[in-house]
């Protein structure tokens, strides 16, 4: 056997060994974290119950219904539209594991883009999991990708044309759940998921809907509530009250000429007040330093501190960073305020939810204190 053949065989064998170990790592992304919903949880349904087209795909995802015999309105809360925005999924988990319903219904989808939780974005260097200490041990949560897994939807076109507007975006956006509303039954997997969510809103007669997000600190729309015109009065009052309590929020109207966004299409197509909320996540932007699971929790990055000093950011970035407990706390506080104001104006459709983790208590005890200890 000549030298070249031996080298080729050696490289082939080495590749096989490396493939085996890396495949194990990639496949571990398909393992789901466990949730422990509160006693108010009455049903867990697959999203495919609302649209069969996503059954037996990784687009299907559990829908948690929290109900009380006392009638009232229905709110839908979405986490994990972008699985690389940890405060989004964790806010919904904190809600699910703590809330008590006195009237009305709360529907929560903690992994809206379930497929996006099964992979990570090349070139981003993100961790696969991050961890919380709970009363009796550690719980892990998934750090996923912004988009649907290409294993489930591939290839991307060079240009993504949004249905039905025809708006053009870069091809990779074809797998972005928050660019795919209202979706269609015969479209891509991402469009089918958004179509299923639209069907859920119709079938469950949802009165109010919230989509939870995070953005980079340099992004112009951050620490913000983005609102469809139908929710403008409600969110205007919410922001006013939050500012009175020293929570800085920007109120942004849902842009009319940017299509595919949850709040815009929910409001336009289904005539419901629709809201999107953003907090600032340092793992997200372009200025971040090295990445690891701890940073997902601490939100502390020295390059962002430097960027803030040079006024490159849209929000203040303090020396101790913007930790996950603060971002989750802000989202929970906002949801609480939205419900309060909603109930004031819609007594016949009130949604009374108790035991939402308090912002200040969360800053003191951390997120882990509000998570069920698990097995």
């Amino acid at each position: 056997m000549n030298h070249h053949k031996s080298l080729a065989i050696f490289i082939l064998l080495l590749s096989l060994i490396l493939s085996y170990f890396s495949a194990r790592s990639f496949l571990s992304m398909r393992e789901n974290e466990k949730y422990y919903p509160s006693e108010s949880n009455t049903k867990i349904k697959p999203l495919s119950d609302y649209f069969e087209g996503i059954k037996n795909t990784r687009g299907d995802t559990p829908v948690y219904l929290f109900e009380n015999e006392q009638p009232g309105g229905t709110i839908l809360i979405l986490g994990g539209t972008h699985p690389d925005e940890p405060a989004s999924n964790i806010t919904t988990v904190c809600l699910m594991e703590n809330l008590k319903i006195s009237s009305g219904r709360v529907i929560i989808i903690p992994r809206a883009n379930n497929s996006g939780f099964t992979h990570s974005d090349p070139q981003e260097g993100n961790p696969q999991r991050f961890y919380f200490k709970t009363k009796s041990g550690e719980r892990w949560f998934r750090y996923g990708s912004r988009s649907t897994n290409p294993i489930d939807q591939w290839p991307d076109p060079e240009v993504y044309r949004h249905y039905p507007s025809g708006q053009k975006l870069s091809g990779a956006e074809t797998r972005n759940l928050n660019r795919a509303y209202p979706g269609r039954p015969d479209g891509s997997l991402t469009e089918k998921i958004t179509y299923a969510i639209m069907q859920l809103i119709k079938d469950e007669a949802v009165d109010l809907a919230i989509d939870i997000h995070e953005a980079s600190p340099e992004y112009p729309v951050v620490n913000a509530i983005v609102t469809h015109p139908l929710a403008f009065d409600l969110t205007g009052e919410v922001v006013l009250y939050l500012q009175m309590e020293d929570f800085e929020f920007n109120l942004e109207q849902s842009p009319e000429n940017f299509r595919g966004l949850s709040h815009r299409e929910w409001g336009d197509h289904l005539q419901i007040p629709a809201i999107l909320m953003e907090t600032a996540c340092a793992m997200h932007g372009r200025y971040h330093g090295s990445k690891n699971a701890d940073k997902a929790i601490t939100g502390l990055d020295r390059f962002y501190i430097e960027a803030d000093k040079h006024e490159l950011l849209s929000v203040p970035y303090p020396e101790n960073g913007i930790p996950l407990k603060e971002r989750v706390g802000r989202h929970l506080k906002t949801i609480q305020k939205i419900l309060e104001i909603w109930n004031n104006y819609n007594p016949e459709k009130s949604i009374v939810v108790e035991n939402i983790p308090d912002f200040f208590e969360m800053q003191e005890k951390g997120v882990g204190a509000f998570l069920v200890s698990g097995e």
């Binding site: 290839p155 060079e158 956006e173 891509s188 490159l312």
Partner: protein, 425 residues
């Protein structure tokens, strides 16, 4: 200096040592320097990140491979030679219009796919023999093809880097047609005529005719052009009638066109042609894999953030210098990557100016990355289609035009608000 600076230094030094002392291929050298960088930064041997990085450019790799096979096949069938013959016979006596039309022809695939390589490897490969027979030297022909392909990538209707920047700031792809035409078309015509006009202003057609390849159209009829026709139809249909059934993707379109080439012209051995094409494409595929790993490790270790945060905090004048230098250099990795990583912070740093014009100017500058080594996708493939073994000769010839392009892009950014009054309807 922070740790990230030293990690960058180690990565660059080990890369240079691997290339120049170790004589490793560029792709392998990039992978080795990434492993060393990760070790120095304290991340051990991050196998998952190394493998994840290799997949970053899977789609371009598939497009390049299938396009290379297509190009080799239409060369074998005689279609390339025939088009070259027709261009020379019908257009030799109108040199300015001939060059302008050829420029638009080369740009066309880039305009509708947003990929400079698609332009170089299809229409670029088609016109290359004609331009060389008309008397334009090999290096100048390669330069015309490379530069026209870059401008094709920037020209409307499809400019992917602008879409990528837009995606980062939620700016819809609306109102870009005129700004992008302004950014690309005048420069394209000026560049190609500057490079080629002096060679084609007076040609001795009788002498050239003697050297032309034998007409294949007489033997095979118009079916000779069937693969090219199918390519054009598919490219147009996928964009004019976008839908589930027309979204085939460039690799599949090229594969269908390759299959249609059987019996269209001279017979060829599919296995041999494919093997040759893949062998030619292998170095670039290796570089793309290596670059994917390199960026992944730069991101993981914080080197990427370090570079960006230092660049965007430059004072006004130096910010523009930073744009001219860093966008093409980072674009050497990938112009799409440069738009994603640097384009968005630069746009945010320039808020107050018309975002549409600024994004158009930034992508014009970022496109130059496709000329820059080590990847130099447009440049290296342009060298391949003209048969030039030393890509750097093409780069050297393109440099003045690249500099003009960069200055033009900066001019657009500086005058963004004035231009916006005329170009944004």
């Amino acid at each position: 200096m922070p740790l990230e600076f030293y990690v960058l230094l180690v990565m660059l030094t080990s890369f240079a040592l691997a290339v120049f002392l170790g004589k490793f291929p560029i792709g392998v050298s990039l992978a080795l320097s990434s492993i060393i960088g990760a070790l120095v930064a304290g991340f051990g041997f991050p196998l998952r990140h190394l493998v994840e990085g290799t997949f970053a450019y899977l789609d371009p790799i598939l497009i390049i491979t299938s396009a290379m096979i297509f190009m080799e096949i239409i060369k074998e069938t005689g279609a390339l030679g025939e088009i070259s013959r027709l261009i020379i016979i019908y257009l030799h006596n109108r040199p300015f219009w001939m060059l302008s039309l050829i420029t638009l022809f080369i740009m066309f695939p880039g305009m509708i796919t947003g990929l400079s390589t698609a332009a170089v490897l299809t229409t670029g490969a088609i016109v290359a023999p004609a331009l060389m027979r008309l008397g334009i030297p090999r290096v100048q022909t390669g330069s015309i093809i490379a530069m026209a392909a870059l401008f094709g990538m920037i020209a409307p209707p499809i400019n992917v880097p602008v879409m990528i920047i837009g995606g980062g700031v939620d700016m819809p792809y609306i109102g870009f047609e005129l700004p992008l035409l302004f950014a690309s078309l005048p420069l394209a015509i000026i560049t190609t005529t500057s490079i080629g006009y002096r060679y084609v202003k007076s040609v001795n057609i009788e002498k050239i005719k003697k050297d032309l390849p034998e007409s294949q159209i007489d033997k095979h009829g118009f079916r000779l052009f069937l693969p090219i026709l199918i390519l054009i139809i598919f490219m147009l249909v996928t964009r004019l009638i976008p839908g589930k059934y027309t979204a085939l993707g460039m690799p599949l379109i090229f594969a269908i066109c390759c299959l249609s080439a059987f019996k269209s012209g001279k017979a060829f051995n599919y296995y041999k042609v494919t093997k040759r094409a893949i062998k030619n494409a292998m170095p670039v595929m290796g570089i793309l894999v290596g670059i994917g790993i390199f960026i992944q490790i730069m991101t993981l270790t914080g080197v990427r953030g370090f570079l960006i945060v230092k660049t965007v905090q430059l004072p006004s004048f130096w910010l523009y210098v930073g744009i001219v230098v860093s966008l093409p250099i980072f674009g050497a990795i990938s112009s799409y990557g440069a738009s994603y990583v640097l384009g968005v912070p630069f746009l945010l740093a320039l808020l107050g100016k018309s975002e549409i014009i600024v994004a158009s100017g930034l992508t014009l500058i970022a496109s130059l990355g496709d000329l820059m080594p080590p990847t130099a996708l447009a440049g290296i493939f342009a060298a391949q289609v003209v048969g030039e073994s030393n890509y750097f000769r093409i780069l050297k010839n393109c440099l003045p035009y690249a500099a003009i392009t960069a200055l033009y892009g900066i001019g657009m950014i500086l005058l963004a608000n004035v231009l916006a009054k005329f170009l944004i309807l």
